[in-house]
């Protein structure tokens, strides 16, 4: 267990470093993926195999793919600020021809940033705040009493569920489940927190609706028939919605 925890936590931290240190969002996403897989290992080492599997499926699978899709739509390599021209793969077709030409020229002039080239300098103020917060947390954890937080303790072999199982010859035996097993989790969900479970399903449904509504292409035409003029660099035309 300790070994698994050690390895997976190191993997997790490495992924985190990759996520934080790079300007390029693709590297960042890769780092996040690594961190997720690493924390799945941590879950496994803490006797939570179901959660570990869910972690890989939901985070490393679904969420990462979603991020990847959006990366495709938006500018990925260099996030330009207000003043700069966008360099998006997905939205390029909407730009004026001269913008596209300029973009192509720039592309030709510089190669895509490599792993090392995209490393970002640390931001001092953010670092200070994050470190201060970590110091607080670490101090708090350090102060936790050892008799309760010093060891994880032995797991009971099985948990009583009060359910029975009918075997072939008609007799019944008590159904017992082990810690962290799928049966135990399902028992917890449906015996312990059915309402929360249902509410979460409702939440996801709402999120799906919201995401569809927000990302609809003709949203602007629907909500703002007469848009006020925008100043500055935004006057290149409102083309984003037409591709």
């Amino acid at each position: 267990m300790e070994v698994l925890f050690l390895i997976s936590s190191i993997v997790c931290l490495l992924g985190t470093v990759l996520l934080l240190s790079h300007r390029n969002a693709v590297y960042g996403l890769l780092g996040l993926l690594v961190a997720f897989v690493g924390s799945a290992g941590v879950f496994r080492s803490l006797d939570a195999p179901f959660v570990a599997v869910a972690q890989v499926l939901v985070y490393a699978g679904a969420l990462a793919v979603m991020f990847l899709f959006v990366l495709m739509f938006t500018d990925t390599r260099t996030s330009l600020d207000r003043a700069g021209l966008p360099l998006s793969v997905g939205a390029r077709v909407n730009f004026k021809p001269e913008d596209v030409k300029k973009f192509k020229d720039e592309q030709a002039a510089q190669k895509p940033a490599s792993l090392l080239q995209s490393v970002q300098l640390p931001q001092p103020l953010a670092a200070v705040i994050a470190l201060a917060f970590f110091a607080c947390l670490a101090f708090a954890i350090h102060k936790l009493p050892d008799h309760t937080w010093g060891s994880f303790g032995e797991l009971p072999a099985n948990y009583e569920t009060g359910l029975v199982e009918r075997v072939a010859d008609g007799t019944t035996i008590d159904r017992k489940v082990g810690y962290g097993s799928t049966s135990a989790i399902s028992y917890t969900i449906f015996e312990g927190f059915p309402l929360a479970f249902e509410v979460v399903s409702l939440l996801i449904f709402a999120a799906v609706l919201g995401a569809v509504l927000l990302a609809r292409r003709h949203l602007e035409g629907l909500t703002a028939p007469s848009r006020p003029e925008r100043a500055g660099g935004d006057s290149h035309g409102h083309s984003g919605a037409h591709h």
Partner: protein, 108 residues
Amino acid sequence: MLEPKTVLFLSALLFSAGMYGVLSRRNLLMLLMSLELMLNAVNIALVAYSRAWAGRQADIVGAHTGQFFTLMVMAVAASEVGIGLAIIVAIFRRKRSADSEVASELKN
């Protein structure tokens, strides 16, 4: 011997790292990723609590509450990413940029 405190330290470290990411990034996508890292750190802490509880109690629901909570956090995180990414796409369509500082219409 693995201690709960060790796991909590790891969780705190990841959480603070995510916080650094959230504070330092201007790209909305990276910001959202760092946010996911913070949620993940919380998940690790929750599973650790669950395991520590299970070592002392024989109640099945109580022993798995932390894990159940983790699953809930995952579901909420999935919804949040779905909405967040949709917002980013919408912002990108309007502003042609994923910079968090371009969307500042609510200034002053």
